[in-house]
């Protein structure tokens, strides 16, 4: 095991150690101490990750290849070796670093946040329980990040699911919280079901669960035209089905349409948990999984991913406009951003998707912690309609939150209007821009061939930097996508800044709308230090730190190049998308979307709620649909619960009329028959015999009763005597 791998494995085990420690002696450690144990473990992991990252940066391609050691054989099941190892590449390292870094600061924030919350159940403090779960959550996520086989990944995946259930339902004595926990868990199970079937198909058709091995077999299967590609089901090849089923897991975890319903409810958990789920761990797991199985996705499956992402980002962005709970706004914005990531995956913008994931992790953690600070400061008031003017009471929170808002809105100065195409902006700007650029390229790229020529000079990552670079055949031209996959995200890029600015403005600016809430507002240092750190991280997490690392981990070009060229095309598209053409096309279309959105929000909400309410009244039908979140919960309630009830009614009717009728008939017949047999046969003939037998049994029982002394030893003695008799019989007779 190389040094880097050792660092990572230690980094994974530290939170586990913290979990074990807290689980056993957490209650002894008491209130702040147990929290600091978790923080310390995670911070140590973060330091290890940083060291590993720096070492990795110092290695050239050969050194990086050498740093990977062979996975360890764990078991052989039915001839298939199950191996576990560390999936060492740039993506793993940067994800690892991001998870540990963001988690560390969320943990720090949690210590401050939980200090102000009642954590007693039956008079016993359960403070440590929270950090026990948090540590396990961190461990599961880190295990998921370094997993090199789908099986290990699945194990970590389920652990993440369990932790989310435990943490969302942390206030389990509150009905809504425990319901939300169950909802999250069950909804995830639905997605995981598809994932399991997908895994089964991987085992059946590829026979190798390691990521690299499966990808290789998949490619081989394609060139050989194996059953995975030759057989079809409902018009799609089995390979496509496999990819779509594997992606189902990501749909559940990353709260994609139609399984997005759990994420807003997950707000029932403590706010740091929301931050952790939304930023670093749970929802990121889905995108990460999609990135890892990307090489197993056929073009059709990729299109499926893109469509799901597109639907999700649209629904969530629209619903976010009308939410009044500060955490729900953030929840829907998360779903929307995840939709962007999935869309990016689907259109082949592998790099952009992960880049967006990393950038999003920082600013979403920042905003959630900010909202936690607000909620804490306002005595658990979550309704933004009752806030307002808080910037004077909590300046640090307000300003750092604004950084997050700017980042998610994609604030930046488009390269087109900067000298030498210099880029200036926050993380979200670059990533969103890149996603849209790739989408644009996939939709219209063929018509703008001349731009691609110009792009050659500007490739930021020369081929030598791409790990695993294998010269492949030039990829076939990717098929064009529906223009909707470009235009809808563009439209939503205008909506995002609007709802974020609405949320920020209503919370922090304007006049205080509720005197009571405003008077008590305050902020505490333990909670705003993480905010400042994450805000700085949001600034730094720009193009120049994350993106090259992610790009270096892009999947083997050859695996997909000869197939559909998804990855090679990603590299090529990437070259194109930083070309002037794509960005020029984008700059004029969405470059200043954030300004438009901000101004619109400011115009409507600058004087408080009045204008917004008038608008809502004017657009009542639309407003109603949005407030009810497109009636998804109601729909599921109707279909699932109603369906169950209908099935009940049918089976009840069947029971009542058919089964009961038969039973009653049988009973009637039996009754008549029994009268006959009872009066004539029984009393005369049988009773006499039965009584005789009874009397005989009674006297026999009395006889047998005497050795039943009730002493086990004597029973043993009887048994031993029996054995002895048999043995002696065999031996001497």
């Amino acid at each position: 095991m190389s040094t880097i791998e050792l660092l990572l494995v230690t980094g994974v085990l530290l939170p586990l150690a913290s979990f074990v420690l807290l689980a056993f002696v957490g209650s002894k450690l008491g209130k702040p101490a147990s929290g600091w144990v978790a923080v310390l473990a995670m911070a140590a992991s973060c330091v290890l990750a940083a060291v590993a990252l720096m070492q990795w940066q110092g290695l050239d391609a050969a050194g990086r290849a050498a740093a990977r050691s062979a996975p360890v054989l764990w078991a052989t099941l039915g001839g298939m070796p199950i191996k576990f190892g560390v999936n060492l590449d740039s993506l793993t390292l940067i994800m690892f670093f991001m998870v540990t870094f963001v988690s560390t600061w969320i943990f720090v924030f949690s210590v401050g946040y939980m200090a102000g919350h009642s954590d007693e159940i039956d008079g016993v403090s359960k403070f440590h329980r929270f950090f026990t779960y948090l540590s396990l959550f961190g461990f599961s996520m880190l295990l998921l990040v370094i997993a090199d086989s789908l099986l290990l990944l699945f194990i970590a995946w389920e652990l993440v699911g369990v932790c989310s259930y435990l943490l969302i339902g942390y206030y389990f004595h509150k009905k809504s919280a425990s319901d939300a926990g169950i909802k999250a868990f069950v909804t995830n199970r639905v997605g995981d079901f598809g994932f399991i079937i997908g895994l089964g198909m991987v085992v059946l058709f590829l026979g190798d669960l390691s990521l690299a091995g499966a990808a290789e077999r998949f490619h081989h299967e394609f060139t050989a035209g194996g059953p995975l590609f030759s057989r079809t089901f409902c018009g799609l090849s089995l390979a496509t089905w496999m990819g779509m089923l594997l992606f189902c897991g990501a749909i559940g975890k990353s709260a994609q349409f139609p399984l997005h319903v759990w994420l807003p409810d997950a707000m029932e958990g403590p706010t740091p948990v929301s931050a952790l789920i939304h930023a670093a761990t749970m929802v990121a797991a889905g995108v990460y999984l999609t990135a890892r199985i990307f090489v197993l996705l056929t073009p059709e499956a990729q299109q499926f991913v893109a469509i799901i992402g597109c639907i999700t980002l649209t629904l969530a962005a629209l619903v976010a406009i009308v939410q009044t709970d500060i955490k729900k706004v953030l929840a829907y914005s998360t779903i929307s951003q995840l939709g962007y990531m999935m869309l990016a995956m689907g259109v082949g913008a592998w790099i952009a998707a992960l880049f967006h994931l990393l950038a999003h992790a920082f600013f979403k953690a920042l905003m959630f912690l900010g909202s936690g600070q607000v909620i804490e400061g306002c005595h658990h008031e979550q309704d933004i309609r009752k806030m307002g003017g808080l910037i004077r009471k909590m300046p640090v929170t307000g300003l750092t939150f604004l950084v997050g808002v700017l980042a998610i809105a994609g604030a930046g100065i488009p390269a087109l209007w900067m000298p030498n195409h210099m880029k200036l902006g926050l993380g979200g700007y670059f990533s969103k821009d890149e996603i849209l650029a790739v989408a644009w390229h996939r939709v219209y790229g063929e018509n703008h061939g001349e731009n691609e020529v110009a792009a050659g000079a500007e490739i930021q990552n020369p081929k030598s930097k791409i790990e695993n670079a294998t010269v492949g055949t030039p990829p076939p031209e990717p098929r064009p996508l529906s223009p909707l996959l470009f235009w809808i995200p563009v439209l939503m890029a205008y909506v995002t800044p609007f709802y974020m600015m609405r949320c920020w403005w209503l919370t922090f600016m304007g006049k205080p709308r509720d005197r009571h809430v405003h008077e008590h507002a305050h902020e505490s240092p333990l909670m705003y230090v993480p905010l400042v750190v994450l805000a700085l991280g949001t600034f730094v997490s720009s193009y120049y730190l994350f993106r090259p690392l992610v790009a270096a981990a892009a999947p083997h070009p050859f695996l997909t190049a000869s197939y559909d060229g998804a990855a090679a095309e990603a590299a090529e598209a990437h070259a194109t998308m930083i070309s002037h053409g794509a960005h020029a096309a984008l700059a004029t279309r969405v470059g200043l979307a954030f300004v438009v959105g901000f101004v619109l929000a400011w115009l409507i909400y600058r004087k408080g709620l009045a204008v917004g309410e008038k608008l809502a009244a004017a657009l009542k039908p639309v407003y109603t649909v949005l407030v009810h979140k497109f009636y998804f919960d109601e729909l599921y309630g109707l279909v699932l619960i109603g369906g169950t009830m209908a099935l009940n009614a049918v089976s009840y009717a069947f029971d009542k009329f058919v089964v009961d009728g038969l039973v009653n008939l049988a009973a009637f017949v039996t009754e008549r028959l029994s009268w006959f047999s009872g009066m004539i046969v029984d009393q005369g003939v049988v009773d006499g015999a039965v009584n005789g037998v009874g009397r005989g049994t009674w006297s026999l029982g009395g006889l047998v009763r005497s050795p039943q002394v009730g002493r086990i030893r004597n029973y043993i003695l009887f048994a031993a005597t029996g054995v002895a008799v048999v043995v002696v019989w065999i031996a001497f007779v």
């Binding site: 047998v704 009763r705 005497s706 050795p707 039943q708 002394v709 009730g710 002493r711 086990i712 030893r713 004597n714 043993i716 003695l717 031993a720």
Partner: protein
Amino acid sequence: MLTVGLTQYLVLAAFLFCCGLFVMTTKRNAVGILIGVELVLNAACLNLVAFSRYRVGTIDGQIATLFIIVLAAAEAAVAIAIFVNYYRTLATIDVDKGDELRG
């Protein structure tokens, strides 16, 4: 002349078995009965290993013994738990006091 072979082992095992059986049937202390059971199990284990060595030539007997050891440990744990409960209920460890199922 003294030699060592399968028979010698089996005779020893038979002796252990009989001792265990006797302990089981006569001791009134519940823990004593458990000790008898352990003796009997050991006798059986010894048989298995001896057969495995002198007759079969594979390690299947050893594996069976391994399982017996595991089961014996489990059985002892449960038995002790039951005894603790028994003692708590009847304030004695004399098994003859627990004769509520007497016919």
